[in-house]
Amino acid sequence: MTKNLKFGLPEIYIGPGEFAVSREPVIISTLLGSCISVALFDLDIPAGGLNHFLLPSPKSGSVFSESGRYGVHAMELLINDLLKLGVSRRRLRAKVFGGSAMLSYREKAVYNVPKMNIQFIFEFLDLEKIPVDSYSVGGDLPRKVLFFPHTGKVLMRFTKKTLAALERRESQYSHELREKSDLTVSHLFRGEKTGGTGVEKKE
């Protein structure tokens, strides 16, 4: 953890596929291209968290598509850690950022990656009845996001710096997601108490 000298607060930086939660006065920051970041917070605790994710192969932005399920998963990881801090799902509020058109593979793709990601997150938040306090999505510039989880405040600015490096990282992350998508881990337990006739299985 580094210290943000301007605000005199510890700063936790998260990259693609990562997330962080806190109930301390800290800053959670990220640099976003095509990816989406959602800041979720409960001001009664107060606590909040920020994630940074991308749908693996978004032919559709639907929550119910196979790809959408990975977005649901990214959101669930963040929400679960917030619940562990005592946050109430009903009090959660959201701020949404990202989805700029900058991945180089977008030219090859028949579908619009940022658009599908944006569609996904608003559909998800609507389904889960989490109100959106503010958002900045789309365009073609990266965004630098600073989130203050204990107040719910976000500072965001557009940046032209580090475009190439960011693009490389997001492409790599997107590639890893697609690779991982058929590695479902499942175990069936053997035993008297366990209801089924399971065999031990791990894949």
Binding site: V63, F64, E66, G68, R69, Y70, V72, H73, M75, E76, L77, I79, N80, L83, K84, S88, R89, F124, L127, E128, K129, S181, D182, L183, T184, V185, S186, H187, L188, F189, G191, K193, T194, G195, G196, T197, G198, V199, K201
Partner: protein
């Protein structure tokens, strides 16, 4: 008629996406938003299989599994835990509580249906 599966999860998106997959495979689906509601639904309506999350408000998934295993009439229903928890010790807790199986999210559609078919026999 397909088997009836009860999905217990506090996230509407998860419930609806699991429902979508299961209905496509011919199953009948019922939903509950936490362990307490899950137990209540099981008392009212027969289910051939329960799919549950772990971290939920009011009553968590593993507490629900333990209570199901103690309740006459429903104690033998197979229960699959569908969760983001992948830590060995938590999976072991699930086995001890009486879960039939454990699936770590994010999951792939076919793998989920394949596991369900195995459990339902």
């Amino acid at each position: 008629m397909g088997a009836t599966i009860l999905i217990v999860d506090d996230s509407v998106s998860i419930r609806q996406s699991v429902r979508f997959i299961l209905e496509q495979s011919g199953y009948t689906v019922a939903e509950a938003a936490d362990g307490q509601e899950g137990l209540k639904r099981l008392g009212e309506q027969k289910a051939d299989l329960v799919i549950t999350d772990v971290n939920m408000p009011n009553m968590d998934g593993l507490t629900m599994v333990r209570k199901i295993r103690e309740t006459d009439g429903i104690k033998f229903v197979p229960i699959l835990v569908l969760t983001t928890e992948s830590q060995g010790s938590v999976i072991e807790d699930g086995k001890k509580a009486g879960a039939t199986g454990w699936i770590v999210k994010p999951f792939n559609d076919e793998k989920l249906v394949e596991t369900i078919k195995k459990v339902l026999g």
